[in-house]
Subunit: 329 residues, 6 copies
């Protein structure tokens, strides 16, 4: 083995050939629990809250699979999350009794409560968007959190199919329960046709900032995200990224696709603008592998998770040669 190969340290599973080894998120080490971690990577293979096409229960496995394509360092920002934070894949917040929605949510909440109790922050991979509610229940402390929410749907709907807890409503309930402060919630990428003109009434009435995709097309993602960040302010936030924020050409594998969404350049750019924020937890949800084509959605979902990890991990960036990373010397 040459000097060069040694610099690429094959003793580190994250540097081995990427098709080898068990598929964990970003080939991070496996941990039994969140004890001793800064950031816990968690799968939530649950899709009991979907109202249309199912399949996100298979999301964590395929996102793990595609996340092997990620490497350790973010070239564009110099972030080195595995060096600056203790990160591990702690497995799945799986559900023993999937046939009843609120009970399933309680199981998920219990898992994330343990993560919080261990002093770690969670970066979750759904599953459907209903899982954000039990995660917020577990993570929100004494005061409600702000939120950056990138999605095609505001997910502040009413009852549907006899339930309040489906994947189109988590953030209404979260506000109702005092987990989120709607005055510090910004929703970006919203679009699509509606059953009812009042579908996202709660977002508007409660004072959330709703940035439709048409505004993003007109003004550009930088300006929109800057507005959103100004609206949310510097306090603690949660970040929720629904993969259907992306255009279906970039994310066909999702349950409720809406034409006319974000490109990955836009989405990655917006996530990178979260750098320096006080992120208490985050999720990337709604990757549905049975509807995916060639793993594209899972790969883009894994990429978004990696960008989220980079802004959550903090710590000093490293020089990569990129003008936005520290200068090489």
């Amino acid at each position: 083995m040459t000097d060069a190969d040694e610099r690429l340290n094959l003793a580190d599973p994250q540097q081995r050939p990427r098709f080898t080894g068990l598929a964990t998120f970003f080939r991070a080490p496996v941990a039994e629990s969140a004890e001793g971690l800064d950031i816990a990577l968690v799968g939530v293979p649950y899709d009991g809250g979907v109202t249309n096409r199912p399949g996100t229960r298979h999301g964590p496995r395929e996102v793990r699979n595609q996340s092997s394509l990620m490497r350790r360092i973010n070239q564009a920002t110099g972030a080195a999350p595995f060096a600056s934070a203790r990160v591990a894949d702690i497995g799945d917040a799986w559900v023993a009794k999937p046939f009843e929605l609120s009970g399933a949510h309680a199981e998920i909440e219990a898992f994330f409560a343990q993560v919080k109790a261990a002093g770690a922050r969670a970066l979750a991979c759904g599953g459907d968007h209903s899982i954000s509610l039990p995660i917020l229940r577990a993570l929100a402390g004494d005061a409600p959190l702000g939120m950056i929410h990138i999605d095609a749907h505001a997910d502040t709907g009413d009852n549907y199919g006899g339930s309040r807890f489906h994947h189109g409503a988590p953030f209404k309930i979260a506000v109702d329960e005092g987990l989120l402060d709607p005055k510090r919630v910004a929703q970006i990428g919203i679009r699509g046709s509606m059953f009812d003109p009042d579908m996202w009434k709660f977002s508007h009435d409660s004072g959330m900032k709703v940035i439709y995709v048409e505004e993003l097309e007109a003004r550009g993602w930088r300006a929109c995200m800057a507005d959103a960040l100004a609206f949310v302010g510097d306090g603690p936030i949660y970040v929720s990224f629904d993969i259907d924020a992306l255009d279906p050409a970039f994310a066909p594998g999702t349950g409720t696709p809406e034409a006319g969404g974000l490109t990955m350049r836009e989405a990655m750019g917006m996530v990178r603008m979260l750098k320096g924020r006080d992120i208490r937890g985050a999720d990337m949800v709604e990757v549905s592998p049975p509807f995916d084509t060639g793993g594209l959605t899972a790969m883009n979902g894994a990429t978004i998770m990696f960008e989220l990890l980079c802004v959550m991990a903090g710590g000093p960036p490293v020089p990569t040669g990129h003008p936005e990373a520290p200068a090489r010397v």
Copy 2:
């Protein structure tokens, strides 16, 4: 059932779970004929005019299938087409004798003549682009129509394969027959390699406005569409949207794909600019399901049809919270 569920009226098939029921366009009601309708949704499962890859005969069925993802109200504009117009799916203008192109066109023309006789306007789903010719024959009245034509190809070609009537020539013939006024025809999105430098000679010679995709890339879709609308003027028009106007990343399932096309944000924005125009009929053509991947092309085709329906239906928009819709009160 709660108040909220009642507001989502499940007695209305358009509000039921979207995977249920027979697949009609937008889950609109089925009608035996166009009598009593303002807008008739029509499938034209015919691809006898293709010169390269076939399969658009399967287009109407798959577009119907994917159109279940659409809902009743256009969030971005507030259009509520099913409230402001009488709309139904009247089935297919199918062809009994498919093996002879001009005879097949006569069958299609007869179907659309009945739609017109019933006082309804047609929104058609192809099929290949040759079907625009018999539709125009049925719809054009005493004076030729203008046209907004969004496509990768000008489709004003000459004879090919021994026939004048293939899918690369309908609009030349339509001008020759006095169905279209070339001075009021704008073609947008044109691109692709050519067999012959004179391939779209007729468009140029007859005075059509041809906006190439390179101009759209340089100047933006708003400016290009504004020019096209100004060129076409306020008189009665036909709208023809060939799905191959989209980039193949957005519409792989089509017979004559050309790299470097429109995104869905661009395409949807351009169709919305048609609001208020006197649209006498419209089509969305060339979705070829056998070449599609994961239904993406059919879904985007259904979305374009929905946007066309919204601008055709007219009527008062409803408040949705979107800044371009009426204000909520």
Copy 3:
């Protein structure tokens, strides 16, 4: 139009080009209810009872789509079900409140109770296998029914995931509720690995006849089916065909595939042996389009439904030239 074309009566939607028209089961007419029908074709787009891979909620639509490939007459048997029985597609037994399993079953049961009240027999298309339970609740009368059950799994399991009503248990509950007589239930094609050696204990203990696929490989399908029919006897029966009875090469699109299953020649042959039996209702379940490849599973599911329809419809067969059909004269 020639004499020959007239014999192929294009006024009949079932004889038109098969890619045209709305997709109903076998392009049968649509009916609002089962009134006046002998056999009602019903979709049950529900998969809330699955324990592994979801997606069968999309089964009815894709089976309808592929069923367009079927024609009116069974060449091998001469059965002409649309001539000998009044048959229509009455749409879907859809579920308004999908998030709670037993409530969903009650909705399904109510739909089939109406079919029975109208005097029609139902041929259902799932959905997951849990739907057989509410169908049996609706159809079983004073005395329990016998059953021919072709499947990879006996589906007589215990509680799982906190519920008795999942898709691995309907027939245990049906026996418990007196809907099925286990001494007249034959299960064919059983195979696959097990969580627990007692998984199908109830089938054995209750006296059902369980024919494993290894016996079918060794003795042939004719002998096995003959045994099953002798066991079940001449009384009234229900027929349940789980598409995962087929080998995954023939039915990849299903939630719980098990290697080593039936071929379509075997499956079609077995269903044809049901001719003359007193079939009170039947289902074909577990087609999961998101896991299908090229529509193969849906097409085979539609074919099995057609064979079931042929044996349910009864009536005089017609001469087709096949040696098992009546002689041509």
Copy 4:
């Protein structure tokens, strides 16, 4: 290069790595015409005769592509067709005027007439089954030919869609025109539902031998093929293999699939039984790549063509170690 590599002569394109080089049938040499050949491999990229799903115009290219998997020698029989006959790919019998069915057939006939005039026999790759008619017109000489016809459909139908010449009728017309002797035509694998009980009336009335797939399931392929060969006798024959004879699990990529068909072991065995017959020409038709999954149908189609080539080429077999090949010494 070692001795072993030299035995595998890489100067021969048929022995190079199989993914290299232009895709010709079996990587055979290209020839401008059939002059000097014993067997001409010909593509017929025409699907203007289809009545349901199109796409076989793309068949020759994909069959050529997959045929690279074939090698030079038939292990099971010892046939070495490229050693025992002069074989080349002479390109496509393409159609300049595809929009009119009988004219297209005339173009195809003219191509095959040249093949015959050159003294070569043709092995054609469709294209839809209508192409067998112009091929027979070109090949049949003074006396009508016999035929072994392996297919799901008898293809002896009447007018359809206003035409006599579609892909469900070639062999009726061929008998009418004296190209085939129905008393020496055997059709094997017939099955599927019917529009009309008289659909294959002509086969029965004219005296063809029709072997349904149910007979093949009951008696085995050897016995059925032996009967067919005895019926056809030793005179000159044409061989037509429609890929839809195979079960859709083996050939999903075809326009008119019918469940319950042949396996490849059966099909290959039957073709091998043609050894020693006086085969004047042959075709393998109806591979439709847009409906294929993973190239399986094209690969099986190429395999059938290779087996046909082996029995057409004749000449001394070589020892391969297989008990049915000559003994190794």
Copy 5:
């Protein structure tokens, strides 16, 4: 949680919902090494020895993924391998220097030598078939082993592409090196076309028993496998199962498919006949996910591995109700 749910012990990852958790082979526990194990499950993600289509480097990951569909007990035989043997997934025998074939083989050999040194037997998942050679080098002891080899190809070829060590030659070299006793090697399922009539000359000359697929079609798999077992005798053996032994309808995802292969019923039946044999190691190779459709090949590969595990694990079977398992009491 009910008694029934407790019997299904969700504390055991192998009994949890199958889409949850990290994908290990059969959801077996992960182990750092083979110490303390009876059977070590090993992935070998290496395809540097392929001569045609690559991709088997991705095999172990996808086979692990699909193996989640397996459960703990073999219904047909009562084998309970996880109860009767200590089994774990010890990860991948990955290759640090993939660009040189014989060096890569040395890396693989070293990994398996450690397994043997730990006193465990290995069940490997390829990778291409060249990996059997380094495994045999590691496992073979003082005397050469016998082998049951199920495959489309004898893999006893000569140099190719300048190398002796490709995936078409491992067993010739293994005999040359004294690792295998050719008089105790049986090869089953052999078929396909050949570059050279002498391609498997070494198998015949060295005295291996070669059972071609045509013999299997004629005599049945039971008789052929019985012959093979009698030929191999009761001594220690290696078992190598190349997934291309299956027909491409059952295993499209492989590098060198050959039409006309085994069904899964045949393959599973043959592997079960190995019960009671002295199996020193085994592999299942040549699953190539990039060429797979819907995971079918990986699922069938995982099933074959499970059947191999069952016959390797030995120990007392449990009653399952199946007539070939112990009787229930």
Copy 6:
């Protein structure tokens, strides 16, 4: 045949129906060697240098297949490469001994040396990116070349897997060997995560101009490409286009996809800006068909090759009606 059809000269294979004929690049004529050519189109079916997902050995065949969609004339520029240059497909630079990387490179170099000796320039289709090295060795003359390099990766890495010659390192070696002048090398589109912050250290240290995708997003492709061209200057250059420069939505079928890449409108625009440069050779690499979906990547790769051919061919453009082509008169 009409005048119009005659203008479309069907005697020219490039004007025949595009699904007909053998698949050569752009349906160009086949030539045995580069003698007498200006530009030689060459496939290089070699992927022995990949570090992650393989499959580009199948690239040339599928790019040839999809390139049939191209026609003779570039509408946007008026380039008519087949009229202004002698162009042919000279087949593949295939590798006889693929198992050893540097030997394989020597075989490739020898092929391209013949092209150069014949006085032709080569336009190559990979294959993995390692092939650029032997091509440069063959083409570079006395002085090092400049290069426009469009890619997600700088490919100036160090040893990996024990080899200097893998697909992530060709341009470091090319500089080391004096084939490229790093002061005249511009790399555009660079992005993606990294194993090591120094991964592209060589690019920076040697003085190459590296334009990251974030700069392209911020400043636009025109400005970036103008900078790159200014940096490279007017001297002789090589052009290397790695298909992974495109966003995975546009190019899913590649071995090392990186989210957030170029659109085809951007990529085509940049290639067209090369007009008038002194291009000594070019390649388009890393299309991996086994990972492609629906041929999209191969079609986009063929389109890029066509644009490269247009700028390489030079000669007078023809009037097409496009404003950037010569005026029609």
